[in-house]
Symmetry: C2
């Protein structure tokens, strides 16, 4: 039996309100599965090798529940356009490049490496419509040690015909071909991915809903991101009162469904999410960059919805989930200002919980470094920064969220395995 | 005569609307003063040594017109508190440490180095109330090659008595002692710095106004950042209709005055700034972090006010002005959303102009790499990022603004001198 013992200042996000902190503590895993966090080394591990990280912070690694892998090369560009124009001008041509498998290999290898170096070890990710590039993406993630779900995108209308669009038949066929080839992956699994309602015919949506039921597959898509998009969906589906119903009516709306954005989801739509157990993926920077709006995340939490965070590259411009966490907190303050200071903002522990435990919950994990969870962790050394007085672990964590610290991540563990060591 | 010739893709922010781009261009300075940007090497420089940076971007370096040097060690902490509580809980104790000159030396050396490494070569900076630490700060900036203004802070009321507060007499005496010791600095000059109206008695304000006139000194302070602060100022100065008048009535309001924040400055206050030629320093992230509000920057520009950017560490959490630029753009989009999409946002060229040319204007420079300006420049190599197609220089610049690129800054020039080389 393989035992991993990490010693340091252990921060475990057990609830949104509370960080459990164990100074000079021991985080222990057996065969990659956490057995617990202990203030002293339990007797049964006496003599086992301890990785002693001194006073380094040992943190949960991140779960990034919404990002577009093929948009990685356009990260940080085209931000001055609204959503639908941005898709046509920047995004579709960028994604079309992934017809080239060699290009896909190079780009996805770099992406996987950058994710791990930044402490992201769980993802739910959109690929492009290309089956081969999607399989390459899954290979590269698995090789780098990133776990989670990847989806071949389905889009058989309103794409870029001749450049980036499938026929309904191609979409069906390629989806089945892709699923057939996914069997060998251990850490990365398939997730059905209708791009968004305007991209998929009713026929395709019905096919995907059937497939989700038959093969017991999870689903990810976009919801109520932008008002022009919502108006378009109303035109396309006059039979549906609200956007979410265009997913629900095809069986794509359940407790394994991820819906990115939900900026404009009103009380009724939010109630439908809560009722079905859908997870909202909040993408704060993306929503501001594209002038979509500011999602009422704090309100969603209060209402008991499941909420996690997504970098949403390349609508979002930060791959590091430290930045994504800070962005979510900052956006919640913009929202508070917009609401006349009548709504709360996300505190740092709440933001941290969303970026770690709330995302991990989608993968069936318990909050924090709970016993039974696979070991996903970051070792972070922040001692090169100046400080005016001794800091608490909570203050150090807050500084990690906000403050760029080059080379501070010293090691990353994913699914029980050390997948990155600095230097 | 010393000639500097930099070859690369030269981007010059000549106006908020327009980036002048010269591919394979030559940026030339004689004795540290720019003579121009040329598409081919002018004959008179034939045979002179050329620093050929290939296709690297050659950009103006940044001007950060509002930051608090003694808050550098608390960067990224205490963000969950509103302004006035944040001052008392975090800021005043952090600043009090600068009574210790050894501590000041260590921290300010690190700060100066980090500024230069991030391409900030011009600053307007608050020190603490400590004269010796202020002189140390000026020494360290000058040694590192940062130019600009530094102010010993004046605060003789509502500080932290016994920890961080002066008597009126001490404040007067120490200000004069400080000014007397500033004569030897070549690149860093003094600026009068009443902390903000609640921190200074009328007597002290009158003294500073007199000094500004007598010694021809510029002034920096804070204005209309937060509604609780504004209410407090109204209580303290019932004779003044608006906050700005508390500065104006003491002679601290003219075309060399910098006012940070101005989140809540209404049309009348903005007209007073325009009339006097006061420069607004916009600190987007700080205003959101502390839930102060979102300043109507785009409106200020439209009205013809002078606006520049500040990192406002440590209310702001980013020292890099690339981040500060992205934050200003993003905040302008939040503002647009708050305004019901009726106001414009800052475009990337506008944000870039604010972070470079608009800040440099405070130091008497012409926009962009204009002939006659001292050479302040960044050489940036972005070729390690993936790209899906050849990018224009404008796209590369946008990506620099948004995208974290470790070690991309290869060299920095300040006031004609190379002050940083990577690696």
């Amino acid at each position: 039996m393989a035992v991993t013992i990490l010693k340091g200042t252990i921060v475990s996000a057990r609830s949104p309100e509370r960080l459990d902190i164990t100074e000079n503590g021991y985080l222990i895993a057996e065969n990659g599965v956490i057995t617990g966090v202990f203030p002293t080394l339990p007797e049964q591990y006496a003599g086992a090798p301890v990785e002693d990280w001194g006073n380094a912070l040992i943190l949960q690694s991140f779960a990034d529940l919404h990002l577009h892998a093929p948009q990685y090369p356009m990260l940080g560009m085209g931000m001055d356009l609204p959503l639908l124009e941005w898709l046509n001008t920047y995004t579709f041509p960028a994604e079309a490049r992934f017809a080239d498998s060699g290009y896909a290999r190079t780009v996805y290898r770099q992406l996987a490496r950058e994710l791990v170096e930044n402490g992201t070890t769980r993802v739910c990710m959109f690929s492009s419509l290309h089956t081969d590039a999607t399989l390459i993406l899954m290979e590269e993630l698995e090789r780098a040690g990133v776990t989670g779900y990847v989806g071949k995108v389905n889009m058989d209308r309103n794409g870029a015909p001749g450049l980036l669009q499938e026929t309904t038949e191609e979409s069906r066929r390629e989806t089945l071909r892709w699923l057939g080839a996914c069997g060998d992956f251990r850490l990365v699994k398939p997730i059905l991915t209708p791009r968004f309602t305007p991209s998929c015919t009713d026929e395709l949506m019905a096919f995907l809903g059937g497939l989700a039921a038959k093969q017991d597959l999870p689903v990810q898509s976009h919801l109520s991101e932008n008002q022009a998009e919502m108006a378009w969906v109303r035109e396309l589906h006059p039979d549906c009162l609200q956007y979410w119903e265009t997913y629900a009516k095809y069986g794509l709306w359940n407790d394994r469904t991820l819906m990115a954005h939900c900026v404009w989801s009103d009380q009724r739509e939010r109630a439908a999410m809560k009722e079905a157990g859908v997870t909202v993926v909040h993408c704060a920077d993306s929503n501001q960059n594209l002038c979509s709006g500011v999602a009422p995340v704090r309100t969603m939490l209060k209402e008991g919805l499941k909420v996690a965070l997504g970098s949403d590259i390349a609508g979002g411009d930060h791959l590091s989930m430290f930045d994504v966490t800070a962005a979510a907190i900052r956006a919640s303050k913009a929202r508070r200002i917009m609401d006349g200071w009548e709504t709360d903002f996300l505190t740092v522990p709440e933001g941290w919980y969303l970026a770690t435990s709330a995302g991990a919950a989608y993968f069936g994990e318990q909050p924090g470094f709970a016993a039974g969870n696979p070991l996903h962790a970051i070792v972070l050394q922040d001692d090169r920064l100046p400080q005016s007085r001794p800091l608490t672990a909570a203050e150090r964590l807050e500084r990690c969220v906000y403050r760029r610290q080059p080379d501070a991540i010293r090691a990353v563990f994913s699914a029980g395995r050390k997948v990155y060591t600095a230097g």
